[in-house]
Point group: C2
Chain length 346, copies 2
Amino acid sequence: MDRINIHIRDLITSYQELNPSTIPELSDPPSALEFMRYAATNRPFILRNGAADFPAVQKWNAAYLREVMNDAPVNVAISAAGDADSVLERPDGELWFIKPCEVSAPFGAVLDAIQLQEQDAGHTGPVLYAQTQNDNLRNEYAPLYADIPPTIPFARIALQRPPDAINFWLGSARSRTALHRDPYENIYVQVLGTKTFTLLPPTEAPCVNEQRLRAGTYVPAAETQAEHEAEGPPAAVYPTLDSPPASIPFPTWDPDNPAVRPSPYSHLAWPIRLMLRPGDMLYLPALWYHAVAQGNGNEGISCSVNYWYDMDYSGAFYSLSGFARGVGLASMGREEDGGFIDAPAT
Amino acid sequence: MDRINIHIRDLITSYQELNPSTIPELSDPPSALEFMRYAATNRPFILRNGAADFPAVQKWNAAYLREVMNDAPVNVAISAAGDADSVLERPDGELWFIKPCEVSAPFGAVLDAIQLQEQDAGHTGPVLYAQTQNDNLRNEYAPLYADIPPTIPFARIALQRPPDAINFWLGSARSRTALHRDPYENIYVQVLGTKTFTLLPPTEAPCVNEQRLRAGTYVPAAETQAEHEAEGPPAAVYPTLDSPPASIPFPTWDPDNPAVRPSPYSHLAWPIRLMLRPGDMLYLPALWYHAVAQGNGNEGISCSVNYWYDMDYSGAFYSLSGFARGVGLASMGREEDGGFIDAPAT
Ligand SMILES: O=C(O)CCC(=O)C(=O)O
Ligand SMILES: O=C(O)CCC(=O)C(=O)O
């Protein structure tokens, strides 16, 4: 096992030696071939102002969103403290993977609630984040879809596929998306406010201290349930274990809070941080770990759009990444079957 | 360790499930972007007749080569049985990595000797193979360089670099190149006779049973040394250990002789075989294991040209491939330092 530890360390450090520790900022959109070189090496880039000419970037503000969406029902994720889909440490020390309370509410009420939670510095109620990640911009938010291009040309030509999902994100500085990864090539566009990404490459899987956690969900507090059904978002939520019981392997180490729950490899990680402002575009390659914090714009909201293109499972990258994850877990005595948290969707 | 074995098996089989077990044959040269997709996924392809319009393919034969090269001195590799740069099992069972006797001789004499060794079915003398792999086509064989394009356009545009080496290979069915791998993107062109490749993807590194072997070299037999210095190729060679002593890690399992020296993972390998005929072009991606056998054309020779482009060490592929190799070795109790047999040339 000692020898395995050495190889894991070598993997992490050799990647760091062979790759820049910063993200390039392109001044012009890449050609499809240039984009393919980034995708081939699974390396991110930022295109500052790359989306400056999207109608969304030019037109969207709170009033416009309210006018276009009106009272259309949308799904909103509600958590106790902006911590949906993340690790929750219970009073007894047990870690849960906690999912949000999902509620359907009129868009106007959701936007109001998000803006209100920001205006009140002492806000203690639950935190809302519209972040369904289910292609919502071509469904629930269809009235806004006309304001963005239906695909990103360099990505579509290079990857030879349409986006699998186009997502709309509306939240505020109270929410933070916990470190995780997705089997998607991600083109992420900031529209209002800011987003700050903390990134780790796939070779640093052994750093994230992935553990299998019991799954829980935020549910409306009993006394507020009637109220909630009547008028939208509940006034309080509390965590409860899923039934039937479920569990999920999830990173428990966070590079932005590195002293908490490190794995034996976490100290080797080289997190990369970057901030997107309105009009900026990020290419976040498949299987990169990312945690995402938000900064409010002058209307107290942060709004983004992103395009998820299915990753290519062929070639060696996907299999080798799963292997690195699996060997890392095995070296820490964790007994996940197979190396693949991000199984192909087939 | 048991768990590690399972992850190694999963790596090998998941790659096989996610990738075709055959090599595509393209009917037209790929665009740079299409080529980049193959390079990105580290997947080979064949372009049948892809080099049919190279002057080399149209003009080369024994007489032409003899005329153009005349008596220019060339370096030729001489082995006892066509087994240069391969594993030699000694009478006591020890395995050596044996390198050829390298001799400079007039091209005409080398070509004569190669053709003669094929005409005599009972030939028992040493076997010649002109295969210096040191950019010889732009040096020793410069008079022939005009007969091939200086680069392969789709590869140059996609990879953004000129070839690091262009090599000329002249041998016969008596030689076989042992299973190995190179840190190069390889565009291989067959000109005369045939070559049959046996391939394993980089994920099958644990199958090749790499072992650190003492290094040896074929040297001219003492009684023939004088003769050799006088008139070119020696009449006999025998293996001798290098001094100072040296060792090299090298695959000891051969998918074309699978019962001999298998590793615990060799039975999982899915070797891919393909034959190139005059005018055919192969893209052999970096770090693929390849063994290469030759078939004589009607003049008793096999002749090829290939372009080596440096591989891209950035991204995760190189680091992850080294990791798979290293973990495989560690799981078999082998103690190589680091995972990288193919260290960057820097
Ligand atoms: O914007 C966020 O809060 C998270 C974004 C994300 O996880 C993604 O785009 O995959
Ligand atoms: O043609 C041969 O004998 C071997 C070719 C080879 O190993 C290569 O092109 O890398």
